[in-house]
């Protein structure tokens, strides 16, 4: 379980996160929703120890993050995190060289799934294909948790459909996923838990299925209630 406990983050004098708390379980898709600039990416960065916190604590399976944690949890940011002059094959080799959790079989499967060519340079790829390579490099790791930052941001509808398809496949099965987005249309039906964020605070968090069954509301309905009262 990922436990985010009362975290606060300041950039200069500006408080971006103000006591944010939530948990994310393995085997569930947790979606952090909020408009741009509310601190969604900062939360993911903080979970991965890519930005220091001013207050609070984050635990992954009961421990603070350490070097071996990166074999168990991975982060897929909205921009590709590989050298632009590398080919897809070289990028995959880089991951294989450094991660014991790299699963070459799954990487090959993902390559076919996304219809990507191994010898293509990252620099030459379209934005949609870069997002797919980014996803491939993250999903091919045998990790317990996947963090995804705006995976649908700025890419064409066909690539979005293909990426959304990943969530229903065995490629994500049994893993804990934390996804940030402000466009939930593509994955609304897949989300287990929702964390609604505004102005650095959690406005509401709920189990989407419970809300659907008990109150007959969709995630978007709850969002309307919270953001447009």
């Amino acid at each position: 379980m990922i436990e985010v406990n009362d975290i606060t983050k300041k950039f200069g004098r500006k408080k971006v996160l103000k006591g944010v708390s939530f948990t994310a379980e393995q085997g569930e898709i947790t979606c952090i929703i909020g408009i741009n600039g509310v601190g969604k990416t900062t939360i993911l960065n903080a979970i991965m120890n890519l930005t220091p916190l001013n207050e609070g604590q984050i635990l992954i399976n009961g421990e603070t993050i350490h070097k071996h944690s990166y074999e168990k949890i991975t982060f897929i940011p909205d921009a590709i995190i590989m050298q632009p002059n590398m080919t897809i094959a070289e990028s995959m080799q880089f991951m294989a060289d450094f991660y014991d959790s790299w699963n070459q079989e799954r990487a090959t499967e993902l390559l076919d799934f996304f219809k990507l060519q191994e010898d293509e340079k990252i620099n030459d790829l379209s934005k949609g294909n870069r997002a797919k390579v980014n996803l491939l490099l993250g999903l091919a790791l045998d990790v317990d948790y996947l963090l995804m930052d705006e995976p649908f941001s700025g890419i064409d509808i066909f690539s979005r459909e293909q990426i959304a398809e990943v969530f229903t496949s065995h490629l994500v099965e049994d893993r804990g996923v934390i996804i940030t987005t402000h466009e939930i249309g593509d994955i609304e039906h897949l989300i287990d838990k929702v964390v609604l964020l505004d102005d650095g605070k959690v406005l509401k968090q709920f189990n989407s299925e419970e809300v659907r069954e008990e109150e007959g509301k969709s995630v978007v309905d709850v969002m309307r209630e919270v953001y447009q009262p």
Binding site: N49, P52, K67, Y70, F98, D100
Partner: protein, 276 residues
């Protein structure tokens, strides 16, 4: 192969094209320089002997025999060395900033590798040291070649021969190519210390942005003061109470302290403070 070695290999490969260009530039410009300088001298000699009818011995007496030093003191020789040195100093900054700036977000990947973040720091430092050693090796390899070209172009009566050993002994070259193992440790140890101080200053900036620039400059100043303490104390106290060997011993000890401090602070910043 452990992850540190893989990281060093990766860092080296990222700079390899520029690095090979620098090595090629050094070889081409220096060899061309020997040819140009030798031609200039021989053209002058031929003009004096054939047109002005000056005897060869008199020409050599008046102008001096050409030595390899005439070439090593020229821009043809020093220029490429200066360019390589400037490129590597620039690269000390680039090796970090290229991972953060522009479209490149590779720092995410480096910081999320399942290895100690200190390895990222040390791999970058080791790459710089290896690149410096590589370029010095290129220089060492081409010196005999250049000396041969020089001997081939300038007849024996017009030249004053030097061995490669004598050439290397010459003032600034002896700094680049140390004569003894102790000198090697001292010069390159000092170089490694300078790299580690700069790396840590860069990480201050990457951790605290504008305040980090001040902290980084402050860190450089403190490191230099600590390292220069034996010399500074004698200047301010106006008393030479230490023997040169004692000063050397203290400098070596303080150099080790400053390097260890820089690596330690750099490791702390990478683990706890740095932000993507």
């Amino acid at each position: 192969m452990n992850r540190f070695v893989k990281l060093v290999n990766f860092e080296l490969s990222r700079f390899m094209k520029v690095y090979l260009t620098l090595a090629a530039l050094t070889i081409i410009v220096q060899v061309a320089g020997v040819i140009v300088k030798a031609n200039e001298y021989m053209a002058k000699a031929n003009e004096a002997i054939n047109e002005d009818r000056i005897p060869m011995a008199q020409f050599v007496e008046q102008n001096g025999a050409m030595s390899f030093m005439d070439f090593t003191r020229s821009l043809w020789f020093m220029g490429p060395i200066a360019i390589c040195a400037a490129a590597l100093i620039f690269y000390i900054f680039m090796i970090w900033y290229r991972d953060w700036l522009g479209k490149n977000t590779f720092i995410y990947r480096l910081l999320m590798l399942p290895t100690a973040r200190l390895n990222v720091y040390l791999a970058k430092a080791a790459s710089i040291v290896l690149m410096v050693l590589g370029l010095v090796s290129v220089q060492l390899i081409i010196l005999p070649l250049e000396n041969s070209v020089f001997k081939w172009m300038v007849p024996v009566d017009f030249r004053s021969d030097m061995t490669v050993g004598q050439i290397i002994n010459w003032d600034y070259l002896s700094m680049i190519i140390p004569q003894t193992f102790t000198e090697f440790i001292l010069y390159y140890g000092a170089g490694f210390m300078a790299v580690s101080i700069l790396f840590t200053a860069i990480l201050f900036e990457r951790s605290f942005k504008w305040k980090g620039i001040i902290a980084g400059i402050g860190y450089i100043a403190i490191s230099v003061i600590i390292f220069a303490l034996p010399v500074l104390s004698m200047i301010f106290l106006n008393r030479e109470y230490l023997y040169p060997l004692e000063i050397l011993g203290l400098e070596v000890a303080l150099g080790i302290v400053v390097t260890a401090m820089s690596i330690g602070v750099g490791n702390y910043l990478l683990k706890k403070k740095v932000t993507v």
